[in-house]
Symmetry: C2
Subunit: 319 residues, 2 copies
Amino acid sequence: MSQSKREIKTIAVIGTGVIGASWTALFLARGLKVLVTDPAPNAETNLNTYLEAQWPTMGQTGLSEGASLSNYTFVSSLDGYFNQIDFIQENGPERVEFKRTLFAHLDEKLPSDVIIASSSSGIPSSQYASACQKHPERVLVGHPFNPPHLIPLVEVVPHPGTDRETVVPRAIEFYKSIGKKPALIEKETPGFVVNRLQAAVLMEAYSLVSRGVISAADLDTAMTSSLGLRWALNGPFLLNALAGGGSFQHFIEHLGPALKSWHDDMQKHTFKMSEQDIQDLSKSVEPMFQQADLETIQRERDDALSRIIDMKDRSSSLH
Amino acid sequence: MSQSKREIKTIAVIGTGVIGASWTALFLARGLKVLVTDPAPNAETNLNTYLEAQWPTMGQTGLSEGASLSNYTFVSSLDGYFNQIDFIQENGPERVEFKRTLFAHLDEKLPSDVIIASSSSGIPSSQYASACQKHPERVLVGHPFNPPHLIPLVEVVPHPGTDRETVVPRAIEFYKSIGKKPALIEKETPGFVVNRLQAAVLMEAYSLVSRGVISAADLDTAMTSSLGLRWALNGPFLLNALAGGGSFQHFIEHLGPALKSWHDDMQKHTFKMSEQDIQDLSKSVEPMFQQADLETIQRERDDALSRIIDMKDRSSSLH
C-alpha cells in the first residue's frame, strides 16, 4: 500500500443489522459522511427509524463539528461510489463464502489506500483476505462490542499479510479519532481476546451455578459489586501491580501459586455444555428474569455507561 | 443458636491490617461502635492515623446517624469486653492454628448469639469452627474485597455446620444494613467465587500476553473499555439473558458451542506458572508501570468507584 495520507471523511457501512446501524450512528455523530448499503427488505426504513431514535442519545454524548443525521445516504449498491469511499466497515453475514466474494469485489474496485475492516469476530480476516487479488494487505478486522456507539473497545486484528507499517497504525488512528479505544490483537486467535476472557468467566460461572456453589442471582451481584467495578476502571495487569505494591512481578511471585491452584480446581469441574447441562442450568437461571423489566434495565445501564465513560475521559489516569 | 433478636450495635474487629482498618472505618461511618484489638507494635497509632486520613472520604459517601470517629476503642485484649460485643469481624493472620486457638477462645467466652465472622478468603471456616466446643454454628466467613469501605461485595460463606436458619440470614441482613452487597456461597470451594472468576481471567490474560497475542497494556485497555464497563453494571447471567432477547436459554443454546470452543482452546494454552514463565511474563509487563503515578491512579480510581456506586444505588434496576 502506498504511504497514503488519505483523510478519512466518508465511510461505507455494509450491512445494517444491530452492529452496522450502531456504527452508522457513531460515524454520523463524529461528523463523518456515511454510505450505507444492505440488501435486506426494509433495511433503509429500519435504519432510518433506528437513527432517528438514537440521535438524541448521540447528542448527549456530544456531537462533533459538522455532525448531522442527514449525512448518510442509503444506496442499493456501492458500485458507482468507490471513488468517494475512504474506509469500509463491513457487517455482513458470518459466512466465509459471502465474505470472500464481497471482499474480492471491494478489493478489485477500491483505491489501494482504502482500508477494508470487518466487524466480524467469528471469522478471522485471513479467511477472506486470501480472496483479494490486489491488496489483501489493507484488510483487517475491527471488532466492536455491542452497542458500538457506547462501548469504546475495538479489537483491531490484522491477518498475517496485513500491512503492519501503514494499515494497522492508520486503522488504530482512525478508531481513536472517533473516540474508540482500539486494542491491537497481534495474532488471529479463536475468539480474539475479549470473547476469550468473557468465556473464561462464563464457563466458570456456569460450573459454579450448576454445582450449587452459588445462585445465578448472587453470582451477578458478586460480579457487579467487586470485579466489575474494578475492571471498569483498572485493567487486570494494573490491578495486579497495585496489589503488588507497584510491582507485577512481586504480585505474581506471591499470588501466582494460589491462582494456579484455583485454576486447577476449575479445570476439574469444567462445565461440559451437554444438552442436559444446558437444560438443567437454564431451568435454574431462567426464573431470575421472569419479572425483570429488561427495557428499564437497558435504558438505565446505557445511561450509566455514558456517564462512566465520560467520567473516565475527564480523568488524568483512567482509560 | 437461640432465635436471637440481638441488635448489632458494637462490633469487635480483630486485626488492624489493611482489611481490618478498612472495616473499622466502614463500621464507624455506619454509626456503629467498634472495639479493636491487634497485638502488633504501633497498631493503635497506625489505625488512628489511617482512620483520620480516611474519615473525610467516608464523609463523602455519607455518614449514618450517630457516626463518629470517636466511637472506637483500641483494647489490648477483648477479655473483659465479651458482654459488650454483638458481632465479630476477624482479620487475623492466615494461619490455621492461630485461627483455631482464637476461635475456640472467642466461642468459649462470647454469648451464643454473637456471630463470629472471618474476613479470610484463604482458609474456609470449617477448618477453625471445628475447634469451637460450644457454638460452631455461629461461625462463618464474611470475605470482603479490598478496600472494604468502598467495594460493596461480601462473600458470605457458611461451613457445613453453620446454622442456615438463623446465623446466615442474620449475617446477610447485618452486612446489607451497613450498605454492603452480600453474596451467599453455599459450599466451601477453593477461592470461593470471586477469586475463582478473577483467576479465570488472569490465567488467560497471562497466557495471551506470554504467547504474544496482545500486550499487557492493550489487554488492560480491552478490559476497561468493554467487559469491565458491562460487568460493573450488569452481571454475566443478566447480560446473557439480554443478549438472548430476554432468555438465558436462548443465549446458551446459540452461543454455548462457541464459548466451549474458545474455552477448549484456552485449556490447550494454559499458563503453566513455572519460575521461567513468571520471569518472562514479568519482563514484558513490568515496564508498563515504570512511569505510572500509582498514587494518582488509586485516588482517581477510588473517587470514580464512589461515584459509580452512588449512581447504581440511585437507579431502580442496577445493583
